[in-house]
């Protein structure tokens, strides 16, 4: 009821009406509502992490712009809509600068909500600072396992599943179905950074723990700066595996898939990490034919969840592309992640009794298991890791210049059967 009242007040659009409205709906003892809610965040406009950071930043910005166009976000603590102000600094992918700027947001700008930069390296420095200042860190995609401990209540991973969740279905597929289908010799190639190394560790762990008759015939890490895989592909072929799994960053995956195409090598089962995450970017660089029949994760783009809050993927995609078409920022999972962060901030503000950081945490954790965004079901474990937004195994199928990501595992979600290529 109150919500409706507020809405009509704002529609009247008169400052006077607004005043009357707030005065009328809130008890006199309440502190006056702030003119804006300040959201502080960091982004990397340049450097090594720019390509993952900018889509997240743009997604968050888009949510804020939309919310403000709608009169602001509903803040339960004040019982009315309040405009949002985004203060975001560019850390240039430099962790030292990121630390200074995160502290700037907390101590000088006195932001109400704190959002970290993308990726684990830039998020890491913010974790102890947020904790020291007792600020809740809204962590978009920093998945580092070390950030999440039971003694630190001031962090939650919003838009990216924990690294150990990522390869769960891939491993289950290999163990339960791959073996039956004759995928017994597996080759794994991974980039040695936190994100992909952790997935590699988890994958190998799952396979070993299962005691399935899977033989890992090739298992090597390469520096993340590796940009040429031709020789490595030759070496993998020499081990004659049935399945090849490559875990890298976007640039690694593009280079790997292009080199694979150029080399003329084929394997029965090829998995790469990013085709299902940043599908557009991979298609643009590798070509639809280059990822035809390649297996990958299935992320929100292809799962098409029916969200309980915010836009669905198709609508959001259109909005994102309209807003940022000219800026060279690709639509993909990271763009969805940024918008998801915004949605969860909106949910938090709409549920928290006050803007106290622990009240925000309680409100955010209360959403766990009750909200579904375009990114999937939102679920946090006790340490703040994201465990709801799962990544099933999919297979990309090319139709001309476009691709679709067919879910092949787990069976409960499957929309098709895996198709193996004949080498």
């Amino acid at each position: 009821m109150r919500r409706l009242e507020i809405k009509s007040c704002i529609r009247a659009a008169a400052a006077l009406a607004l005043l009357v409205c707030t005065a009328g709906t809130r008890a006199v003892a309440e502190p006056p509502a702030p003119a804006v809610i300040k959201i502080g965040s960091l982004h990397a406009a340049s450097g090594a992490y720019a390509s993952i950071s900018m889509p997240v930043y743009d997604g968050l910005k888009l949510w804020i712009d939309r919310t403000n166009a709608d009169g602001g976000a509903f803040v339960k603590a004040y019982g009315r809509k309040i405009k949002l102000q985004l203060i975001s600094y560019d850390d240039q992918s430099n962790p030292g600068t990121a630390a200074t700027l995160i502290n700037q947001l907390i101590t000088q700008d006195h932001v109400d909500l704190l959002v970290g930069d993308s990726g684990s390296v830039l998020t890491a420095v913010a974790v102890p600072i947020a904790r020291e200042h007792k600020m809740m860190l809204f962590d978009p995609t920093g998945t580092g396992a070390k950030f999440f401990t039971h003694d630190n209540p001031y962090i939650a991973l919003l838009a990216d599943p924990a690294s150990t969740i990522w390869p769960k279905y891939l491993a289950d597929f290999l163990i339960n179905q791959g073996v039956k289908d004759g995928l017994k010799k597996v080759a794994i190639l991974y980039s040695t950074n936190d994100f992909t190394s952790t997935q590699h560790e988890a994958l190998v762990g799952f396979i070993k723990a299962s005691h399935a008759p899977i033989d890992i015939v090739f298992d090597q890490g390469v520096p993340t700066s590796t940009s040429n895989y031709t020789t490595l592909i030759g070496n993998i072929a020499a081990a004659s595996p049935d399945a090849v799994i490559e875990l890298g960053y976007v640039g690694n995956d593009i280079a790997f898939l292009r080199n694979l195409q150029d080399s003329g090598q084929t394997f029965r089962f090829i998995f790469a990490l990013y085709p299902g995450i940043e599908t557009d970017e991979i298609v643009k660089n590798v070509g639809a034919q280059g990822i035809d029949h390649v297996f990958s994760y299935v992320t929100a783009q292809a799962l098409d969840y029916k969200p309980t809050v915010g836009m669905d993927v198709a609508t959001y995609r259109q909005a994102f592309e309209t807003a940022y078409r000219s800026q060279g920022v690709a639509f993909g999972f990271n763009a969805i992640a940024g918008y998801t962060v915004g949605l969860m901030i909106g949910q938090t503000l709409g549920a928290a009794d006050s803007l106290d950081q622990l009240a925000l945490r309680r409100a955010l954790f209360a959403q766990s298991g009750h909200v579904r965004t375009l990114d999937g079901p939102f679920e946090l474990d006790a340490t703040g890791q994201q465990i709801g937004e799962i990544t099933p195994l999919g297979q990309l199928i090319a139709h001309g210049n476009t691709v679709t990501n067919v879910v092949v595992y787990p069976p409960s979600l499957a929309t098709g059967k895996p198709v193996y290529t004949t080498p």
Partner: protein, 305 residues
């Protein structure tokens, strides 16, 4: 030695006092910490470049070695004070291993040093060493996290480094080094032990960077190899030193205060053109002040401490 004491009392002590007091006046302690850190690194760079002419482009190698020395010790349950000693030890050890590089000159030395820093980074970040360094998975030192104490340690280190520069500038040893820089042949014939003098300046410089790395690790507490071996740490230290004026005590200090100050000001005031403006600023400074800020005074015959 009268001049040395004067510099100590008029420049070093006030700087230390202001830095130690500053957190009471300004809330962004990390920004203050980074100022202190870069003053230390710039002066450490000064010890080797300003007095011997060797420009260690891979200075961050020592910094990272110190950060990881501290982290490995702290994760093993060692007290932070002892972990700092380990950090310094890591820097000295790396310095000793790289001492042969001093046989090179100019760009050769700079590039070889850069390669050495890269090599140390690649060893630390390698998954094969994860049981020791945590490799690519990064370290978390939340057990010893103490922002206040690590800040004060950094301030003390800055004071000690500046005092070392005062000693170099006014003591016989530093004079011998500068003679060596300007004319190795006659300095050698005048009885200066070239190899020993250079090695001492080199190790001093390595020690400073590694202790700074240790303090950084303690302060920042959750980080990855990319953080501790970030090339921009080397570049910043060099830019600040050269912009201020190498071979002096005030030059690098002013260089950091002005240039790192401007860097942060741009980052906070006009984040959308951060990199562009800062890059342009550096180009303009090099072209119009090639010998550093202090050259404005020294050209007029004024002695800069």
């Amino acid at each position: 030695m009268g001049r040395g004491w004067r510099e100590l009392c008029l420049i070093v002590l006030p700087t230390v006092a202001i830095a130690a007091w500053a957190p009471n006046l300004y809330g962004n302690v990390l920004l203050l910490f980074n100022f202190v850190l870069y003053i230390t690194l710039a002066q450490g760079m000064n010890a080797i470049y300003g007095f011997t002419g060797y420009l260690p482009f891979g200075y961050v190698g020592f910094f990272g070695a110190g950060a990881y020395g501290f982290a490995i010790a702290a994760m093993a349950g060692v007290h932070p004070a002892a972990a700092l000693a380990v950090a310094g030890g890591a820097g000295i050890a790396l310095g000793l291993i790289l001492t042969p590089l001093l046989r090179l000159s100019g760009a050769y030395f700079a590039i070889a040093n850069l390669a050495a820093a890269q090599a140390v980074y690649q060893v630390v970040a390698n998954p094969a060493l994860a049981p020791i360094t945590k490799g690519p998975y990064g370290v978390s030192l939340s057990a010893v996290f103490a922002p206040r104490a690590s800040y004060l340690v950094a301030v003390a280190l800055m004071g000690a480094t500046m005092a070392a520069i005062v000693w170099l500038r006014n003591g016989r040893f530093g004079l011998a080094l500068m003679a060596l820089r300007d004319d190795p042949v006659s300095a050698a014939s005048a009885g200066v032990n070239i190899v020993r003098a250079r090695t001492i300046a080199w190790l001093l410089s390595a020690l400073v960077a590694s202790l700074a790395g240790g303090a950084f690790a303690w302060q920042i507490s959750v980080f990855y190899p990319e953080t501790a071996f970030d090339m921009s740490i080397s570049i910043f230290a060099i830019v600040f030193t050269l912009f201020g004026g190498a071979g002096t005590l005030l030059g690098p200090l002013i260089g950091v205060l002005l240039l790192y100050g401007v860097y942060n000001w741009i980052g906070i005031a006009v984040p959308q053109y951060f990199q562009l403006i800062y890059g342009a600023l550096i180009v303009v400074l090099v072209l119009f002040l090639p010998n550093g800020l202090v050259s404005l005074l020294t050209q007029r015959g004024i002695r800069v401490p």
